[in-house]
Amino acid sequence: MDRSTPASLYNAQFMDHVAHPDYKYQMDDPTYTHYGVNPSCGDELTFSVKIGDDGRIEEAAYQGHGCAVSQASADMMSDLMVDKTPQEAIELCKLFGRMVRGEETDDSKLAALDEAASLKDVSHMPARVKCAELAWRTLEEMLENGSGEPGSTATASCTMPPHTHDGQE
């Protein structure tokens, strides 16, 4: 049986994001704030960004709780998104989604995800894909919905479709 969880996922770098998240705090005066949840896991996070005068993401932060995969992923994503334009951010979110679903495996392309590319192993763990994706889906949804009206605070609740139903018996 070699289908078990890759041992490399919970590495030191990953655990550093879990133990010492740099971007987990309440942001003052965000441009956009959006809430995301995985109802079947209980993973929840509220993601905020501040868009600078140059139209780029100046600050990214999140608050929430859940499994280490969802939280480390949110922290890595926040780090990646600073200085990106909303359009670049949306493209990166889509790339991350393709990576964890195993649709994009080319490391040269995944390099654009920087540290978050280390979550590639999640593509071998179907039950954890929704955990890893939570922050990215929340951000993508927020930017797609909110970027038309910069300056406003678009706080919306989104409910992710339950991809997998754990505990099925």
């Binding site: 078990s4 896991c41 209980g42 754990d166």
Partner: protein, 429 residues
């Protein structure tokens, strides 16, 4: 605590060799039998035997093969009936009280959809379930109550995870029409006194339904002694095939319930405007049934009987006790449920302090240790218990497990803690 002899017993494992998946994967530690059991080879052989020696559509055929297929199902019904004590005064098994479904969930849906209309619930009526129900014994009643305006009342637990006699007396009363309670919790592993609950239900004139999904595979169940009216369980949790569920009911109760699904095989006669139902159990078995699955379910029960069910039960108690003891001894683990291992039927829920159960399960998977993590299809229970993340880990044993399986779980948990111990906020410790 186990005696030295008991510890020596669970170090031995004379059963694993009978289970091909376990025998072929010696490095695999399977501790998720509450979700589904492994199947012994004789069950797989039985499926094949059915298709290679008696395959024909049962019931309607007039030729020998079809008759044999019909007889195979009837024999399976009798074996199942005997296994759960559904026998008459003379001790003869009441096979016609055994209805085949797809799973325990379907059995419970069948009951809610057919007993519900028979009882004719209204806003003054109550259906009583417990807070520890699996969603399959919760949602059918919840939706029935929503549709009829009846009230859904929950039996709650005391601090020791028991449904007290006082709670039963308080919640089951003159307005109660149906009571449906699990005999063993799929999360906490505790066993409820469904006999006492049935007695109270009958005192007030209510029907008593028992979810036996977690009890029938692990403890001796006798429906006559329990004096319940209906019981649901599934074959796959006792080593039979997936896709076979069982509904047992008292004949007078099943006879009075209308059909659930209609169509082929479930009628005596049909006109352009009307139909006459076949007798129970066929009345509840529309369409071609999984005859091979029924035949293989009989093989699963025959296997358990051949190994002496009482002996298997004793071994499972020892394994559950050892499992609970080992978890209690880990300073970073909280058992969710009784700390007394002897109160656990197969399942023990726990959390690693500050670590999400999904992370625990993923890290255990690195060591080929299979446990369940999440809400276990019992979200109201986890909300009620106010468990962090509304989720737990759950390890569950069967007789084919041994001491080494539990030791490997503990080694895996040590690994979880070596990864997370420095990272988590341990203020609750």
């Amino acid at each position: 605590m186990l005696t030295t002899q008991q510890l020596a017993d669970i170090e031995q494992n004379p059963y694993k060799a009978d289970f091909p998946l376990l025998a072929q994967n010696p490095d695999l530690t399977f501790l998720d039998s509450a979700a589904t059991a492994q199947r012994p080879e004789v069950v797989l052989d039985a499926e094949r035997t059915f298709y290679t020696t008696m395959n024909a559509n049962p019931l309607r055929g007039l030729y020998r093969l079809s008759v044999e297929a019909t007889e195979a199902i009837d024999e399976a019904r009798k074996t199942i009936a005997r296994f759960i004590g559904a026998v008459d005064e003379k001790g003869d098994p009441q096979g016609n009280q055994i209805v085949f479904t797809r799973n325990a969930s379907e059995s419970l849906n069948l009951v809610a959809r057919t007993l519900g209309p028979k009882v004719v619930l209204g806003p003054d009526d109550e259906v009583v379930i417990s807070i520890m129900e699996h969603h399959s014994n919760l949602i059918p009643w919840q939706q029935l109550c929503r549709a009829t305006g009846a009230k859904l009342t929950y039996l709650r637990l005391d601090d020791d995870f028991r449904i007290t006699p006082e709670e039963v007396a308080a919640k089951i009363g003159p307005h109660t029409k149906i009571v449906s309670v699990t005999q063993v919790s799929n999360v906490l592993g505790v066993q409820n006194d469904v006999k006492a609950i049935a007695q109270r239900a009958h005192e007030v004139g209510a029907y008593m339904v028992v979810d036996g999904a977690q009890s029938v595979p692990h403890v001796p169940v006798n429906v006559r002694d329990l004096d319940c009216d209906l019981m649901a369980f599934s074959a796959h949790k006792l080593g039979g095939p997936m896709g076979i569920g069982v509904l047992w009911g008292k004949s007078e109760v099943l006879d009075a319930m209308p059909p659930f699904l209609t169509g082929g095989e479930m009628i005596d006669s049909v006109t352009e405007t009307d139909a006459v139902w076949a007798p129970v159990p066929q009345k509840f078995e529309a369409g071609t049934q999984d005859a091979a699955g029924s035949f293989a379910t009989k093989a699963a029960i025959d296997y358990l009987a051949s190994k002496d069910m009482a002996k298997l039960e004793a071994r499972e108690r020892e394994l559950a006790t050892y499992l609970t003891d080992r978890l209690n001894d880990l300073p970073y683990v909280d058992v969710i449920g009784p700390k007394d291992g002897s109160r656990h039927v197969s399942a023990v829920a726990f959390n690693v302090r500050g670590v999400h159960p999904h992370d625990v399960a993923s890290i255990l998977d690195m060591s080929n240790v299979c446990i369940r993590a999440g809400h276990h299809c019992a979200q109201p229970l986890l909300n009620y218990l106010e468990v962090e993340n509304r989720a737990t880990c759950r390890a569950s044993v069967a007789f084919y497990n041994d001491k080494a399986d539990i030791d490997r779980l503990v080694e895996g948990l040590d690994k979880v803690w070596s990864i997370f111990g420095g990272a988590v906020d341990t203020k609750e410790a």
